[in-house]
């Protein structure tokens, strides 16, 4: 690997640039016209403008990105997260041009990208998946399934998407009517009225497992992350590792299942298996075939550099650690500092940053592309920075995070910082183990307090 092209922007482009430079690998940045003054462009050894602001014409412009790699002599591409990271066709095109795609094989990306295929592979590997049916042929089939797994159940359209043809059924007497209306809605929307049923897990926890796998059959299970603090749009806001209040039995079972899953997919490179946690049970949701935004919390507790491991794996090297010498230490929390207004449904903001003062001190890590005077363009994700706090235990990690957020000043756009301080100091969050319904409930509670306080 002589040179790596980083096919991304923002903090993750900087994160990859750092890993490459630590390994002595020169880098090539790509950027859109809106990102000309971005930090990732300045930090890379070379940079190519690949298109105008909108990402469909720049960060998703495959011909221009491949061409930039070829003319700069980059023999590997790191896709980061988002954009082309889980595009199997892009991974294939890289391969066809003799460029190493730093990630799993196109086949693995494709298999995990298709929900039905992923679920089938996992079921065959004895990974628990949300109980469900094949296409429902009769009301009797549906009734038998619902009685076996218990209400509530969810009716979903085979051709579905965007919530069309989807119905939650909480009681047996509602099943028949819900089946009929879901089916006719699906028929109208997709020209296909076929539906199936799934057990509906109300307010589960979001528990995910970080894995690494090399080309020599080496697999590392790097514990779990709890990402249950999600906005109503299901975007993660606060993540932590390890997951609070989980039994050792739950953990060992989760790790065993994760190992089976990685072997079944013949997976190589970094990946994340996402599960719905429901009491003592967990169910496979999906596998993300890329590095994730929240990877630093795992890095902090295991003292490992996941991006450098990705580069080494792509070079055909073995993992630098063994499962036996991986020991988690303490607790880590990540807060996503977004240019968003939590009081206005997390509406994204863009603009020029007047003041940028970032936190520091013991146990604090900041991954960001911000600098004073930087512009936040309107075209991309609204994440400005990730602040990661590591402490001896969860209590210390939370206290450090609150202290770090209070040290931070970002002026020019509204951010999620004040809101995250409120969440982190909420007794329910402090108790640990909240479910994905927590943040929407928190928001509703805050709204009620405001209405109640009004004269």
């Amino acid at each position: 690997m002589n040179k790596v092209l980083i096919a991304n922007r923002g903090e993750i482009a900087l994160r990859i640039n750092r890993a490459c430079h630590e390994l002595g690998i020169p880098t090539v940045a790509i950027f859109s016209e809106a990102d000309r003054d971005s930090l990732h462009v300045k930090r890379a050894d070379e940079a190519f403008c690949v298109g105008p602001g909108p990402s469909t014409r720049s960060y998703l412009n495959i011909p221009n990105i491949i061409s930039a790699a070829l003319i700069s002599g980059a023999d590997a591409i790191h896709p980061g997260y988002g954009f082309l990271a889980e595009n199997a066709r892009f991974a294939e095109i890289c391969r066809d041009h003799g460029i190493t795609f730093i990630g799993p094989s196109p086949d693995a990306i494709r298999a995990m990208g298709d929900k039905a295929t992923a679920k089938r592979i996992m079921t065959e590997a004895n990974v628990p998946v949300t109980p469900g049916t094949d296409i429902v042929e009769s009301l009797g089939d549906a009734r038998a399934f619902a009685e076996r797994v218990g209400y509530p159940v969810l009716i979903k359209a085979t051709a579905g998407g965007g919530g069309k043809g989807m119905r939650a059924v909480h009681a047996p007497e509602d099943l028949e009517q819900a089946l009929n209306s879901a089916s006719s809605e699906a028929q109208a929307a997709f020209g296909d009225g076929r539906v199936y049923l799934e057990k509906l897990i109300l307010n589960p926890r979001h528990i995910e497992v970080q894995i690494l796998a090399d080309t020599h059959g080496g697999i590392l299970i790097l514990g779990e992350r709890d990402c249950s603090v999600q906005k109503p749009s299901h975007q993660k806001l606060i993540e932590e590792a390890p997951g609070p209040n989980l039994s050792e039995r739950f953990r060992s079972s989760l790790y065993e299942v994760a190992r089976n899953a990685v072997e079944a997919v013949k997976y190589v490179n970094a990946g994340t298996l996402e599960f719905l946690g429901d009491g003592d049970n967990f169910y496979f949701m999906e596998m993300n075939t890329r590095i994730q935004v929240e990877h630093p919390v795992t890095e902090e507790i295991f003292d490992i550099d996941l991006v450098k491991e990705q580069l080494r794996i792509a070079r055909g090297e073995r993992l630098t650690r063994t499962q036996a010498d991986l020991r988690p230490a303490g607790h880590a929390i990540e807060v996503r500092v977004n240019a968003e207004d939590p009081s206005n449904n997390f509406a994204p903001a863009a603009g020029k940053l007047k003041t940028v003062q970032l936190p520091g001190g013991p146990g604090i890590r900041v991954d960001t592309h911000l600098y004073e005077g930087a512009t936040v363009p309107p075209y991309y994700d609204s994440m400005l920075a990730k602040i990661i706090a590591h402490g001896a235990d969860r209590e210390e990690a939370i206290a450090r995070m609150v202290r770090a957020l209070r040290e931070t000043t970002i002026e020019g756009v509204k951010t999620t910082i004040p809101f995250c301080i409120e969440v982190l100091t909420d007794p329910e969050f402090a108790a640990g183990g909240v479910d994905i319904g927590y943040l929407p409930r928190f928001l509703a509670r805050e709204a009620r307090v405001e209405v109640g306080a009004a004269p």
């Binding site: 190519f48 403008c49 011909p63 221009n64």
Partner: protein, 149 residues
């Protein structure tokens, strides 16, 4: 230079040095400009955001001022719209050459495909910014054309 001459010249010097500085500052995105020389100091701070920094209210509503301040000599840049290696057409275009709108000035080779660079407007080639075999990025100026009136 004699000291008497300098004293006499202060007003002239300010006129000569400061006015273009202020003009450049006014046209820039800068919010603060400081000059700190041994015998001369100047600091200018902008209190209002520059006009063109203000967010556009609606897409497609360009401020009319943009047209009004267009340069007298209408020189326009022909830019690359793909990333690749620039190649001259044969024979190569030369400065001073009159071109039609559809004239191919060269091409950008990308992934084995030849992407023609066309003049896009009729006029006279006033500058060539790129050499045969040079890597070019999206939006990079390749040629300057003085538009025909």
């Amino acid at each position: 230079m004699q000291s008497e001459d300098r004293e006499i010249d202060v007003r002239g010097e300010i006129e000569r040095l400061v006015r273009p500085l202020l003009q450049a500052f006014d046209e820039s995105d800068l919010v603060r400009l400081a000059v700190d020389e041994e015998e001369f100091g100047l600091e200018v701070v902008r209190w209002n955001r520059p006009r063109r920094e203000q967010p556009q209210q609606a897409a497609g509503r360009e401020p009319a001022a943009a047209e009004a301040v267009a340069p007298e000599r209408p020189i326009e840049a022909v830019t690359a719209d793909v990333v690749g290696i620039f190649r001259n057409s044969r024979p190569a275009i030369a400065v001073g050459e009159r071109v039609t709108e559809s004239r191919e000035l060269g091409y950008v080779e990308a992934l084995g495909i030849r992407n023609p660079v066309r003049a896009g407007r009729a006029g006279v080639i006033s500058a060539i910014f790129v050499e045969d075999g040079e890597p070019v990025e999206y939006g990079q100026p390749l040629f300057g054309i003085e538009k025909s009136q």
